[in-house]
Symmetry: C2
Amino acid sequence: MREPIAFEIRRRAIEAAQGRVPFDLLLRGARIADVATMEIRDADIGIVGPMIASVHAPGAFTEATEVHDLAGLIVTPGFIDAHVHVESSHMLPHRYAEVVVPQGTTTIFWDPHELANVLGLDGIRYAVEATRNLPLRFIVQASSCVPAAPGLEISGADFKADEIRTLLSWPDVAGLAEVMDMRAVLETQPRMMAILEAANASGKIIEGHARGLTGPGLQAYLAAGISADHEITSGADALEKLRAGFTVEIRGSHDYLLPDVVAAINTLPVIPTSLTVCTDDVFPDYLVEHGGINDVLRRLIRYGLDPLQAIRCATINNAIRLRRDDLGLVAAGRRADLVALSDLNEVRVEAVYTAGRHVAQGGRMIVPSLEVPPPLENTMKIGRLVADDFRIRVPGVTEGRALIQTIKGARFNSWSEIEVEVRDGFAVVPDELSVMAIVHRHGRNDPRPSLSVIEGWGRWGGAFATSYSHDSHNLILYGHDPAELALAANTVIEMRGGIVVVKDRQVVAQLAYPVAGMLSLGNPAEVAAAHARIVEAAGRICAWQPPYRTFKALSGQSLACNPGPHLTDLGLTDGTTKEIRPILIRPI
Amino acid sequence: MREPIAFEIRRRAIEAAQGRVPFDLLLRGARIADVATMEIRDADIGIVGPMIASVHAPGAFTEATEVHDLAGLIVTPGFIDAHVHVESSHMLPHRYAEVVVPQGTTTIFWDPHELANVLGLDGIRYAVEATRNLPLRFIVQASSCVPAAPGLEISGADFKADEIRTLLSWPDVAGLAEVMDMRAVLETQPRMMAILEAANASGKIIEGHARGLTGPGLQAYLAAGISADHEITSGADALEKLRAGFTVEIRGSHDYLLPDVVAAINTLPVIPTSLTVCTDDVFPDYLVEHGGINDVLRRLIRYGLDPLQAIRCATINNAIRLRRDDLGLVAAGRRADLVALSDLNEVRVEAVYTAGRHVAQGGRMIVPSLEVPPPLENTMKIGRLVADDFRIRVPGVTEGRALIQTIKGARFNSWSEIEVEVRDGFAVVPDELSVMAIVHRHGRNDPRPSLSVIEGWGRWGGAFATSYSHDSHNLILYGHDPAELALAANTVIEMRGGIVVVKDRQVVAQLAYPVAGMLSLGNPAEVAAAHARIVEAAGRICAWQPPYRTFKALSGQSLACNPGPHLTDLGLTDGTTKEIRPILIRPI
């Protein structure tokens, strides 16, 4: 456990609780949300240093260096996010903290999976080092899937058992992050078995990603030592996983699933202690506008979860999951991570205290953030590209027609094929379809674009490019016009990472990610506004069709660890069969 | 965490869960108690090695090396005892296991406090080493109070911060045991602060003993990092401690308290996850006849606790407290510690499995126990005593009358005084009163008896002696006739420890404790029968007046860490003021 409490402080807390010395801070007049007994009751809270020294009857003590009147508010423990990739906010860690702390989040369980896939061990080291002494507690995980689909893609690093063992030996790394390669687990593939062996031997927590797993596969996944899942797809799925013994981390990202999940959970005799909440990936504009865990809780309550139970999921239940006896409860001896709400049902956050410090008020930070210099080496190891790099070559056919392999769909992809005209050795992409490209950017493989015709996206009326693409974070592009694709690619390359929308052969929106090709140096308002402009501009060149064809799907189309076809830097891969298919099916 | 699972086994479990290889053991036809969702449902359980590989629909798999038909039974997780001193059973650890495992207990959190007070670090080392590879999981704690009342008594060892740091550095030691010296905590006494500093720095669990603590003292005790209590004295006490944030370990030993405790808990909106159960001290005859945790659960259910909630307290709630994600749930990936009940309300145990092995059936062990040779050095470092050693000297008075200090009461003692006749320098103990003696036996101090007249016990009609006396385990005696006291003392000394009843100047019952003066070498039936004879014989020479004047109170009368007066090897001590009083108040 990091952040030991100097014993002198604890000794002073013992004295203060008995009225012998003043508290550093006394919060009085509030009601507290007791997520152990599930009562809400009047109590004052005495704080010494970073810890709660006493929770006592209103007015029992008055001596304190500072007194805050919280009359009319409900004080809950600070919210804990069970599973998050900070990278999806595109903000530096201290900037991320500036956003979520005023929303009530005081602890996150961060899988720096995206940073790791670019920077390797240095990415995790940065995640640890950049987050010390921030007003948000970052508990860092060792990313288990670097790359997520070994053999199907090449990312910036390779974590095998040795790297995992190294990471888990760091005191600051609290567990193995989501084991996404479910198939490797179920098939007992050697690389994954060695990683799981190291993780089980460490005794640390092992997080899951059990998307769609059910029945024997689900049991096998648990048997591997993996014990939590955030990939809930329905109420029935949530119940099966709770009954199987998983910690279920309800994720806010798929809002349309939540009413069914809440309804299912409400059929149980109790709300299980093994039910928690997480955000996983939230884009900066959504995060700033709607929130993180506070937003998840608000919606769960709206869909019928008891408000205090929702708070419990985000606090003590997550503390139990993380084996952090010092978090999750408004109780003496625990860290003074506290949230004062003016409205429980709406999770309206007025004030936030972390480690005994009043850090946020009325939705804004009131203390400055510390910044640790981020890694700024150029991770876009790609030379300038030209339009021809984005034309699909049909091997062995110079002129004529050919049947070529395509990928159809968004998020849930399937193989498809189309007949195309071939001119000068290049496929003529039909007017109503588009092109997707992946360009290896880590300097570990050939940086010439890997290309595919994609179906189900209509025709892109411009080009889109980002260096943030799951999970290898190679440069991903969508478009139709090779010149626009080249412009988009070169713009991202020149920014040393970032995201770009091109329309009418002009850059219409861009946001630079100079840190690992995924994090901006901007402040939250800037990043959120720029990202919103990107989303808006992308919407003008692509017609979304939720729930699958969404802006978010753009960076997930290359998720080669998922079943079915995905384009990666290695070509047309299949997450089910693990094959890589040639583009040419046959000349016609 | 001890007992790592060889990864080959885990790999096989992954395979077996998917039906690719047979289970080692398949338990079928039962219903399982799901203490996560609080449902009881039909399920079969596939086991590989020591772990559960799959919990699946009845009949889904049939391939297994061995199949047990558990039709009609309810399978729960193995019971966990949150706080126990094995020493009070007077059995060697493997014998203790033979008793409690058939009762459904598969894990205990052992504070070898009594062994430590006699043998020091060697006592804890023995606790660790003698308990490996037994069918009962002993999780060992570092005893925090050796001696329990420093300055008021001398035991066989002294654990200061250095010893505690050493113990907590052992991987097999999971926490700091009950911090009994509450006053030292609340007064921030240096020795205790140094111990708590070491314990907090270790990050391991810190157990409490918050007897009677309330209000500011209770908050201060929590602030010290102590987070569990088993010394519940009423329903209101239980509620205050649950609300304060303690893990409350309901103890079975004071049955008359339990109805009130259950009624209070049932007023809460939920049964808290922080509610658990423990046995603490159970004598061998009671343990064999009535049980340990199974008996506690049975009574809690009888007093109105929901049966499945009672099971939850003894399983997942305790696993959470112990941060043992591998225990407490009938779920894949967890240890196959399982109990099959034929009657949930009566907690009637039919079969017990620990680490996947069928170890008990119908109340009896069906596998042999391993014994690690116990330490057998003589810890009764006292020469032969004579009758005059048990006469109370009144200093400075040879003949006449004197007002002398006495101790009145049982368990809750108070100071008293009586006028006595003095003959030849000795007090003449009035006919209706008795004498208590403590003889230092660890070879670290003067072994001449420390004596007091005691009020509230009537006149002992014989003598009683035991080398098992809380917490220093000096030789303790009760009686009236100095010759009988000497006979009782010498009998215990000759047995190298034990317990003796003398009546009419003859030994009428005895039981040897050659291991540290507290453990017998006998089997459970022998120890239980001999102990029952002792209790019965003691009852013939002393009239019990429950709830305080009981057989159990005999070994607790010297508990100098408790408030009020107690006789120790150092004399008439006061647990409240920490003074040691002279016996003579004044000559008359």
